[in-house]
């Protein structure tokens, strides 16, 4: 028997799924064309990556160079440099790469739809995301709920005043195994554990849910409210699947520096190496990012949900295992 007889060369997605993907791509592009949002392309291979402690970029070297390059975990920084250069509202459908993300709803290489709306606040952008979902998924309008209210609804914990001990007791009571949590972890790991085990499985049935106003400790690059109590960040869930993550974008360069430094301190505490801050991104911020809101949406997941599929492999031509 020849080796070609036993090698699995077939795509994991059906032809119907590929056609659905093509249709959603066209609808998405029409959606932004109608709204005069400019389609752009930015590099997937770049000299810097993000400091986020929960993201791991793939790195490689170009021939004849000692320097490392990174496959981008999202086009965020490059797109913000375009915004700072005066592009106006922009969108991009591009490949993004994240090492260590394998699963039914994760593939290390995936397609991301990311867009920025100059002059929008995050509530306006949430409304636009909702409209896009209604257009391409044919779903009812989304329900919006603040993070603390959602948390209370599911756990009866008043998050603002909840101690680590309270969160720990709740996790133990509902049977979440938390033996992986260590002294080095911050309070947020308890929120992540409870959210992913107890809340997310219930989210987005029958229509999408937009969760907004995240704890300030989970701001990422979202602006905080005037009192610094919560982050102007939102996430979209549909049928228990996280679809999108958006911000009222942070613009202050000093705040950026502080958050990157904090990221690196946390990386060190977790035994990870620090990440050099992207100097070109910082220079663009120094020049000035226009007031805007931005969001990234997992396009493969959108196709998966639109086709009523249960795993990403059903809508990706070749997953990393047979690419």
């Amino acid at each position: 028997m020849m080796v070609t007889d036993v090698v699995n060369w077939q795509p994991t997605a059906s032809v119907a799924a590929l056609q659905l993907r093509a249709r959603l791509l066209r609808q998405t592009r029409e959606f932004f064309y109608e709204r005069k949002v400019l389609e752009v392309e930015t590099p997937t291979l770049a000299q810097y990556t993000v400091t986020d402690r929960h993201l791991s970029a793939l790195q490689l070297q170009l021939p004849g160079s000692e320097q490392y390059y990174y496959l981008q975990t999202s086009p965020e920084y490059a797109m913000k440099r375009l915004l700072a250069a005066g592009s106006g509202s922009i969108y991009q459908i591009s490949k993004a790469f994240r090492a260590d993300e394998f699963g039914r709803h994760h593939n290390p290489e995936f397609t991301m739809l990311e867009w920025y709306r100059v002059g929008f606040d995050y509530h306006q952008l949430m409304a636009e995301v909702d409209l896009l979902l209604q257009t391409v998924l044919v779903v009812s309008p989304a329900i919006s709920i603040r993070y603390v209210d959602l948390f209370f609804q599911h756990t009866e914990i008043e998050l603002m005043h909840a101690s680590i001990e309270q969160l720990q007791q709740y996790a133990a009571r509902v049977g979440i195994d938390s033996s992986a949590v260590t002294e080095q972890d911050s309070r947020d790991i308890w929120l992540d554990l409870i959210f992913s085990h107890q809340i997310q499985p219930e989210l987005g049935w029958p229509q999408p849910v937009i969760v907004y106003d995240y704890p300030a400790s989970q701001a990422a690059l979202a602006a905080l409210d005037a009192d610094g109590e919560y982050a102007k960040r939102f996430e979209v869930y549909y049928q228990s699947i996280e679809l999108a993550n958006g911000y009222h974008e942070l613009r202050d360069v000093i705040q950026h520096e502080r958050r990157f430094q904090l990221d690196n301190e946390r990386r060190l505490a977790l035994g990870l190496s620090t990440i050099a801050v992207d100097i070109r991104f910082m220079a663009a911020l120094q020049h000035g990012l226009p007031a805007c809101a931005g969001v990234a949406l997992g396009f493969d997941r959108l196709v998966m949900l639109a086709g009523d599929n249960k795993q990403l492999a059903d809508v990706i031509s070749f997953t990393v295992n047979n690419a």
Partner: protein, 189 residues
């Protein structure tokens, strides 16, 4: 010490937790937004068969269990241990009653079984899916009597009791599915 990263988790993988061997039944990668990624797993304790849930931070490593399966022949029982042999190299294994478990009622000398070994020590023994055993005791059973659903109990040579059709008689050899414990057919002598 061999280890597996959570990236390598898949069903069937054998790992060690608190010095006990487990097999992964189900693995799910979850990552809340910008937060910590976890691998939620359902794992089976290989000794007790009990299934529990566990959550790992993605990227963590877990000790690999040196667990393997091999075909062995059941030789004999000496009162304390059940003895088996690997016919390829004549290695013999003595398994205690708790290792052989409930499957012992199907074991007939010279039958082939699948033995699970951990660090080369027997962990469990699975009898063959089908065994052929002689009926040593059963009621004659009246022909035409269907009041008992057309079946009657029979004691087999290994001590197992199964339900058989009324027409099957003592001293006959029958084929039994050990997974369900059900009669399959008569075996012609």
């Amino acid at each position: 010490m061999a280890t597996y990263n959570t990236n390598e988790f898949k069903s069937g993988l054998k790992i060690i937790i608190d010095n006990e061997p487990y097999s992964i039944v189900e693995n799910e990668f979850v990552k809340p937004g910008k937060g910590q990624a976890f691998n939620r797993v359902k794992i089976r304790q290989l000794k007790s068969g009990r299934v529990i849930e566990k959550t790992y931070k993605s990227g963590e490593s877990v000790e690999a269990a040196d667990v393997m399966e091999k075909d062995v022949q059941y030789l004999y029982r000496d009162g304390e241990f059940w003895h088996f042999m690997d016919l390829t190299n004549y290695d013999q294994y003595a398994a205690a009653s708790e290792v052989v478990g409930d499957g012992h009622i199907w074991l007939k000398e010279q039958d082939m079984c699948i033995m699970t070994l951990w660090n080369d020590a027997p962990l469990s023994v699975a009898p063959p899916n089908f065994v052929e055993l002689k009926i040593i005791e059963t009621d004659p059973g009246l022909r035409g009597d269907t009041s008992s659903g057309g079946s009657k109990p029979a004691t087999l040579e290994t001590g197992a009791i199964v339900r058989i059709p009324l027409f099957v008689q003592q001293d006959e050899v029958i084929k039994v599915d050990t997974r369900s414990g059900e009669y399959v057919s008569r075996v012609k002598a």
